[in-house]
Symmetry: C2
Subunit: 343 residues, 2 copies
């Protein structure tokens, strides 16, 4: 059923039917009611391509996911973010267009989406320090919001981020307060902006308490179980091992726990662990009492909020881009305790 058929059926012009359905005021209430009833009865839905062609709007938001043999951006965090953003889009009548591309083609993918008129805006994931994609999106000219920030980019752009620096500084202070001095940082890849900020927070907190950072206690890698396990294993085997670990996500934290327990040590007693927790729906950090002490910030909520910011900007592209900084909470679980020998 298309607009012409519907309007023929009603004995009205397409104009009137279109206006009635789109809420324009110049339609007699009785007529509007009749039209709406007929539309509902016949399950009429405007063809989105035709409408898009006429209005110039795609009613869709683009998310470009680069896949690489090197790094995995297809991670669980992404799934929850998408779910959050998707809820917002659906409620607002927007679709979510996912473009999975080899990472070498990422820039092309953004350009193509714009040139084909496929989307009205973008969300940019996992920004790196001084991320060239932000400038690219600026050039392209469609509204966009960055999930995270990118130090070094001077452009005015919209973003939504967690205060990663603060979160990791607080986590580090928390461990120092428990008497820990040998605190390891198992970080994500520090080319990623959020990882660099976390490291800065960690270093600042150590420095503030007069603790000299030990390069041997800092690693930066993909956030997988195995990388957490490997890094922690190596550090625990070395002389003067850490008494506490700070990890970038729950999954590497699970690897760290494996390394700890494999050595007959007990997490929370012999070795403490604090992780960042993205509050993923299917990977809860325990229930009543969290397994891991963590800096927590819901990535799903971030998705919802970022989507709202983007839709707002699409609706009104004027003015400076909005930014929003979320605070992570520090939740105490069973993975931390006083440094050994300080009971």
């Amino acid at each position: 059923m298309n607009l012409r058929q519907l309007s023929d059926l009603l004995g009205l012009s397409q104009t009137t039917v279109s206006r009635a359905l789109n809420g324009y005021p110049e339609v007699k209430p009785a007529t509007r009611a009749r039209i709406e009833a007929a539309a509902r009865a016949h399950g009429y839905r405007p063809n989105m391509r035709a409408r898009g062609l006429a209005t110039g709007r795609a009613m869709a938001i683009g998310h470009v996911i680069p896949v690489s043999t090197q790094h995995e951006i297809v991670n669980p965090i992404f799934a929850d973010f998408i779910a959050g953003a998707g809820e917002t889009y659906t409620a607002a009548g927007y679709d979510l267009l996912l473009s999975v591309v080899p990472d070498a083609d990422e820039a092309q993918a953004y350009r193509a989406l714009k040139a084909r008129g496929a989307v009205d805006g973008f969300i940019l994931h996992a920004p790196k320090t001084d991320d060239a994609r932000i400038r690219l999106l600026g050039d392209i000219g469609l509204p966009f919001v960055v999930h995270g920030r990118s130090s070094g980019v001077t452009l005015d752009y919209g973003w939504l981020d967690v205060d990663n620096r603060r979160a990791f500084a607080r986590a580090t202070e928390f461990l120092i307060d428990l008497g820990h001095r040998r605190i390891a940082l198992i970080n994500g890849r520090e080319a990623l902006d959020f990882a660099a900020r976390r490291r800065a927070g960690y270093l600042a907190a150590l420095a503030a308490r007069g603790i000299v950072a030990d390069p041997a206690l800092m690693t930066s890698d993909e956030m997988t179980e195995v990388s957490g396990y490997r890094a922690a294993s190596a550090m625990l085997e070395a002389g003067d091992p850490p008494t506490a670990f700070l990890t970038a996500a729950l999954i590497p934290a699970i690897g760290v726990r494996r390394a700890i327990e494999e050595r007959g040590l007990k997490m929370g007693r012999d070795v403490s662990v604090v992780t960042h927790d993205d509050d993923l729906s299917y990977l809860a950090n325990g229930d009543d009492v969290p397994i891991f002490t963590a800096t927590r910030s819901s990535v799903r909520l971030a998705g919802r909020l970022a989507a709202e910011m983007l839709l707002a900007r699409i609706a009104d592209p004027a003015g400076p881009a909005a930014t929003r900084l979320l605070e992570a909470e520090l939740i105490v679980g069973r993975s931390t305790g006083p440094a050994p020998g300080r009971g």
Copy 2:
């Protein structure tokens, strides 16, 4: 840059330019080359809405993700599947349209996508036993492929599935061969078809060896770390605890390991664990030697293959729907060993 501008620029008609770019034969090679060069130089890309309107094809595939307060389908498996399917779509010039809807609206979401002409086909995720959505999609009339199967649905439909029954039967036999008799099944929600099949495989293997299944050793729940932990904890505390666990995914298996080690037991020595492993990119089951003995089948590959099947069907909708059954491999890791007392 649109088609008219490009053809004006070249002094040709839109017809000729369109034909040249779409590979039709009735264009002089020299002209075609000139057109292609100009198109490339100006970054011309056909507006997908206009093209879709003219051709009647959306060049997009719909994935509907129901979100619920009850169950989490937004799971890590989904992310990897999407990544696999997305690669195929991109290579074929298709887009991936993700629709995140409250689960009560799922049927409406499919209908709306069709009515709005937004997609050329669907992939259906996580089918339940006798899943009504399959009939719905049949009614709707757009091609679709189910990731999984649905017992009880008589309709002829396309699907791609892992032989879950066989996989879990083999895993169970493997444990029996190691001397285990008290084998627990920590299953996914058995309303989901794949979970029901796994249970059937497990029960069949026990029965074949004359072992009476114990209802106290079978649970069925969301596949989270916590649910794995809880189920395993309860069973280990009870009288006559299991000596081996079979879990539905890596994440609950991690919960099971936590329960085991929390009791001072050692996984692989005191208690064995076999899990299904979807071979997720960011949640590898160890590296050289797997952490968990597992039935492994790449969900990302499944995504790629399912997408190929769907695109093939869109290209040629005639004939019976294709189906494909993948075999899971049984890989031996460090989480299994002889039943205690049989060393």
